[in-house]
Symmetry: C2
Subunit: 242 residues, 2 copies
């Protein structure tokens, strides 16, 4: 009898538990349970279990058919751009590959977001970026959470792009970076160099200079990427650490 995680309600708890199990590959070597089995496992009614299964279906994680039962879809069907799916992947254990792929993806999205921000940001967007930067300065002085202020800056830039597809990535970036904080849990302060790099992005956006905004953002992400690649084990076997 699997104990479902606490949550808003029973359905969501089961979604969380199953989603995480699927992401962790628990059902790679055994079939996904049928409805009736899930009911006993979670001591829940069929309604609740079916609703949970449907939510996972909506995110591409599972499929189902009469007589055939319910099964875990191939990874290529999973919606990696869904914050829940992403968080389940992260919780299932650290993976250098996943982290690197995500930074590569950020290298695509965030520089362009900054460029768009330089062209499209509204006054309120600029104000939010300015505030985020001030928070980073306060953090540099040791008087605020340095990693959270870092995250908030990136979110503010994404917001300022005023592009709904790009803004959507806020949740993904937040999910991953928040996870990274928990993982490292290092109380590193904001480095002066780092602050200057972020200042450069903000300046470019304030100046309405897309090219400079793009380049400045790219620089930060290149740095992040090479940092994690340095730490990555050489052997492709141990690329995932649970």
């Amino acid at each position: 009898m699997t104990r479902a995680k606490k949550g808003r309600n029973l359905t969501h708890s089961i979604v969380e538990t199953l989603g995480q199990s699927i992401a962790a590959g628990v059902y790679n070597d055994k079939p996904f349970p049928i409805e009736a089995k899930l009911c006993t496992q979670f001591s829940a009614s069929r309604s609740v279990v079916r609703e949970a299964v449907k939510m996972l279906t909506a995110k591409g994680l599972i499929g189902s058919r009469p007589r055939q039962g319910t099964w875990v879809q191939g990874e290529r069907h999973w919606n990696f751009l869904d914050k829940d799916v992403l968080s389940w992947l992260l919780k299932s254990g650290f993976s250098y590959d996943l982290m690197i792929e995500f930074i590569e993806y950020r290298k695509a999205v965030e520089p362009e977001a900054a460029a768009l921000a330089a062209r499209n940001a509204r006054p309120s967007d600029l104000e939010a970026i300015r505030v985020a930067l001030v928070h980073m300065q306060i953090a540099e002085a040791g008087k605020a959470d340095p990693l959270q202020s870092d995250i908030n800056f990136h979110l503010a830039v994404l917001d300022a792009s005023n592009n709904r597809f790009i803004i959507q990535n806020k949740e993904l970036v937040q999910t991953v970076l928040q996870y990274a904080i928990k993982l490292t849990n290092k109380t590193k302060g904001v480095q002066t160099a780092e602050l200057e790099a972020h200042q450069a992005i903000a300046d470019a956006i304030f100046a309405g200079d897309p090219v400079r905004a793009r380049a400045a953002t790219l620089a930060i992400l290149e740095e992040a990427l090479s940092l994690i690649q340095e730490h990555r084990p050489k052997t492709s076997f141990s690329s995932a650490i649970s």
Copy 2:
């Protein structure tokens, strides 16, 4: 009594119908119906309606609470990076803004995808790109569907990135471009210039040259963007045509 669309089953039909209605803004000026009302509207059981609602919840379109009922979430909660949500938005009527935002997003993702492909593509990925290019050549000669071959080329490049977050965008690109075909329905052939532009991407990827691959992809998307911006009405009022 709303007639639900045909589909795999009743639940999915209701998801389609409601998803599209929400995207079309049908509930902007009236409250979203409560469970019981939806049951009568679709002449379906509560189980089915609730499962449909849960699937829409999983995509960020709606929320629900006891006594408070069910409501349409603000657009910022919608998962724009979900292919169903995107297709519902498209079906709800052409919007220059949405199209432009999507091309801007492609400008972020696809050049980087090409760059990654130049570095990470496996032999089978390269073969797929080669085949896609050949199909475009056949289309240029008028012996294959030109727009479909164009789409397939872009999908092959995304695939070749070998980055799961970027590969996910295949479904989005496919959804939008397929929709664009239906919309324009123009039997335009593959222009020689266009073919050469795609050839340039493939060459760069084959040569393992990320910088050139990125630039060549960007060129095509810049072209697409300026093309649609030319056609866009100047007044921000008529930015959406139903």
